[in-house]
Symmetry: C2
Subunit: 202 residues, 2 copies
């Protein structure tokens, strides 16, 4: 039996931090896991910048709630959920992701969460688990699932390599070059074609 | 972080085999895990009866597609999914459960599947995993989730005992007597009250 693990940002939604950077006009918030593979370094830097500029969790949530899904994302996910079981596996935080979950029809989401201080500023982030995406795939394999993993970036490669079938979706050039063993897709229609074969759909 | 594992039949839907028994007028199909805790014995017996009466998978799927969710089930699940992450964990089969998943808005479902022969008769059942409900809770705990498990019957007790918090929903008297350590609920409003406390909701 199949289960599909899909990344959130870059697969169903735009990158949150890039949007926050645009809306707050803070250029240095633009770096993502695509640029800095060390997630802890990246997050510490982001939280430091937010603090320096006095940007609260509420302000970020306001920015996120105005963001749209990628065009066709909901339709793709609806198709997928009618055919098989899926889990969204994201290194983002529940406080950021829930407005998107509502727009996607509340698929099950595995992610992390945030700590805030008395002033509503993000004081820290809590990884539910280190190397979470890969460990999620491992746990599902142990539950006797044949796992398909779909993601776009460095922080997805653990789960994509661990899965029975890994697929890249809209990856940057450096990821494509570094991991030539995985099929590369750019449109949901290409994902549907590959998945239909895996899932043995007519 | 919380995740909630919920049984399907008895929690969100009526018991499928009881409905099949009523519609086919085969009295002996009425036994469930409530009566026979040994699931393999129970299933072998059911498949033998279906074969004897010439009842195909398609016929059973027709019966299921006419079944309704329990009153308030969809609203309860919608509330739950807006607050936290959930997985439906069922010892039923994907071929039986999908019409209900559609009605519930495609929550993620962990279950088993069926084999059919050339005549469309169910020839065997495939457990994805033995002791699946308990092992699902174990896997989620290892992924650093605080697990709440909700079920009604004998085949749920593995997951309910393994979870950080177990809750019985509409259980039969024998289950209540045998497992007095777990809170007993009969209405979704009672579940919402207990869960609101666990999830620390205002």
């Amino acid at each position: 039996m199949f289960i599909i693990c899909l990344d959130l940002e870059g697969v169903f939604t735009p990158e949150i931090w890039i949007e926050v950077s645009l809306k707050t006009k803070i250029e240095e918030l633009k770096i993502t896991t695509r640029d800095e593979p060390d997630y802890d370094k990246l997050m510490k830097k982001r939280l430091k910048i937010l603090k320096e500029h006095g940007i609260s969790l509420k302000k970020i949530q306001e920015i996120i709630s105005e963001m749209e899904l990628l065009p066709g994302a909901k339709e793709f996910l609806d198709w997928l959920r009618s055919k098989t079981q899926i889990i969204i596996v994201s290194d983002s935080f529940i406080e950021f992701a829930m407005p998107f979950m509502k727009k996607l029809g509340y698929p099950t989401l595995f992610c992390h969460d945030l700590e805030t201080d008395g002033n509503g500023m993000i004081s820290n982030y809590r990884l539910r688990l280190d190397d979470m995406k890969r460990k999620t795939v491992l746990a599902l394999k142990k539950l006797n699932y044949e796992v398909i993993a779909i993601g776009d970036s460095y922080n997805d490669m653990g789960m994509i390599k661990e899965a029975d079938h890994g697929i890249l979706f809209k990856p940057p050039e450096n990821v494509v070059k570094e991991f030539p063993q995985f099929p590369v897709t750019h449109e949901y229609s290409e994902l549907i074609e590959i998945l239909s074969n895996h899932l043995n759909l007519k």
